[in-house]
Subunit: 319 residues, 2 copies
């Protein structure tokens, strides 16, 4: 099958490249460590030009050969590549925003080989405390098809997003720094000193952490319950192997306790890495959330739809 | 004046030594970096014996000359020196516990020079989630004199403690990992990347952080509001110099929001480093806590009283 589109999911720590065929079918995909904070630095010739720009180098490594074979392939990208620290800044669109309409607001940057890379703008909400996303808006679009008028989309990760969508519009979203807080506490705080990594998921410890977050103790907030990850070790109620999953459950439990009350009545779709989404699904069940499902391939679908909306490619193969 | 007691406040990161005279007056004091996680390693002769034990080395550096001059001086110590990672483990006493009675439960360890070091046991509470303290029980005792029957004692720090005392008994206490969370997020998370240290206290930013913690947004919990330390920078509402104090106010605000409702009706005493206590006093005022005062010299006073209760020294100079 002939390729129709190159779609890039370009975040802080990684770069995923998709070669998409007719109707957005994935023909080939690659994953590189060249997130915008980890760009290559070794100068190289690209299209006959000596190049030292890290974005150009990473772009060429990700899909230069695809473009050599088909130089007119359109390219679309989402994620932190459009941030102030990215290749070129794509100004935020303000929520509430119709997700499909973002296809009319792509921000082009011209690569050294002359190809335009069309960057999807992120979304900002400024009603209360400001909140921002880059990349998640594309994933949201990618899972909307076939869903009801009102859904809550959870995107667990370093900075988890919870996005409320009504009739295809992002009406509100929250960010929780759960994943990054887990990582820095495990690596750099006293809690990490007594932890031991385990190959097995410690379900009992994870569930206990979720329950503590939901309990009366949890109402004092996570700054207080965190210390129990240490004291339950001191009292031999948690083994070193159980402590990481206890902390994971505790933090995820606090995140879920912070969701608005209306979330309980809204169908929830989880988008992201399957092991992490499975954790969240388990925690959501413990918290009494009823309608939860997992979605796959959200980013590549979202990028395809935006490229179609922008006229970069055709929705179906022309006869 | 003749010395009566050597009192050691020996924690994780520092060791403070006091030479106390009649009625507990401080004759001399020293501060060393030899906390139990930062002990000296260079072997040395102590009292004619080659010594490589870090606790012995630190002890000798802190007060060996005082003991050379007065070999019969009694020695008392509190803090993490009595933990499982300390010089010798002093078993926890279980709350509720009469603080003055801890003087009857000192744990002796014999130093290479033959001197007994009397270690104050920590306190554990096991009613709900387990909670522990080591050192703070001594500070609590040190400030109790002259206070009413019911007080709440706040000890801000890496792991802040809030201790409820009724009639000289520790009835309940909570721990908040506020200081350590602030430190690891500032140093190792994305929030630190846009922060710039300032010599001036950024009062407006600090107050804003406290208010956000207390606001409706704050009810989603600190994992969510944390992200505002980044987004308020992105929207130019916080300068890089304001971000550290905003984060400080935000975390302290969440800590105070987690105190029990009855705390509002109880006189509060703050114990600890003055700059940090002043921050907490400011935040407490913003949160509407009315009766707040600062206490000084809590540790040395508490150690003196425990030594008197243990019969190690005399309450007043003998005629």
């Amino acid at each position: 099958m002939q390729a129709q589109l190159i779609a890039l999911d370009w975040g802080t720590s990684s770069l995923r490249a998709y070669k998409l065929g007719p109707a957005g079918v994935v023909l080939e995909q690659r994953s590189l460590a060249s997130g915008i904070m980890h760009l290559p630095t070794e100068p190289r010739d690209i299209a006959g030009v000596r190049c030292s720009n890290g974005f150009e180098l990473a772009f060429d490594a990700a899909c230069g050969d695809w473009l050599d074979a088909q130089p007119s392939l359109p390219v679309i990208a989402c994620g932190m590549v459009g941030s102030a620290q990215g290749w070129s800044e794509a100004a935020y669109r303000t929520a509430p925003v119709d997700v499909a309409s973002l296809g009319q607001a792509l921000h082009p940057v011209r690569s050294v080989r002359g190809v335009q890379v069309h960057i999807v703008p992120g979304v900002i909400e400024q009603a209360g405390l400001p909140n921002v996303m880059r990349g998640e808006e594309t994933q949201v679009l990618g899972v909307l098809q076939g869903l009801g008028a009102q859904v809550l989309i959870g995107l667990p990760g370093s900075h988890s997003k919870w996005v409320e969508v009504v009739d295809g519009c992002i009406t509100h979203f929250d960010t929780f720094m759960t994943g990054e807080v887990f990582a820095v506490l495990s690596k750099h705080s006293i809690l990490g000193r007594t932890q031991q990594q385990s190959d097995l998921f410690q379900a009992e410890a994870f569930d206990r952490g979720v329950h503590v977050a939901l309990s009366k103790d949890g109402q004092r907030g996570v700054l207080s319950t965190l210390f129990s990850a240490r004291t339950l070790g001191l009292t031999a109620e948690l083994s070193p192997e159980q402590q990481p999953d206890y902390l994971s459950g505790l933090l995820i439990g606090h995140e879920l306790a912070g969701l608005p009350a209306r979330a309980r009545k809204t169908p929830i779709i989880l988008v992201g890495a399957v092991p992490l989404c499975t954790r969240y699904q388990r925690a959501l069940a413990l918290c009494g959330f009823a309608h939860v499902s997992l979605a796959q391939e959200a980013t590549e679908r979202g990028l395809w739809q935006l490229a179609v909306a922008a006229g970069l490619t055709q929705p179906v193969l022309e006869a």
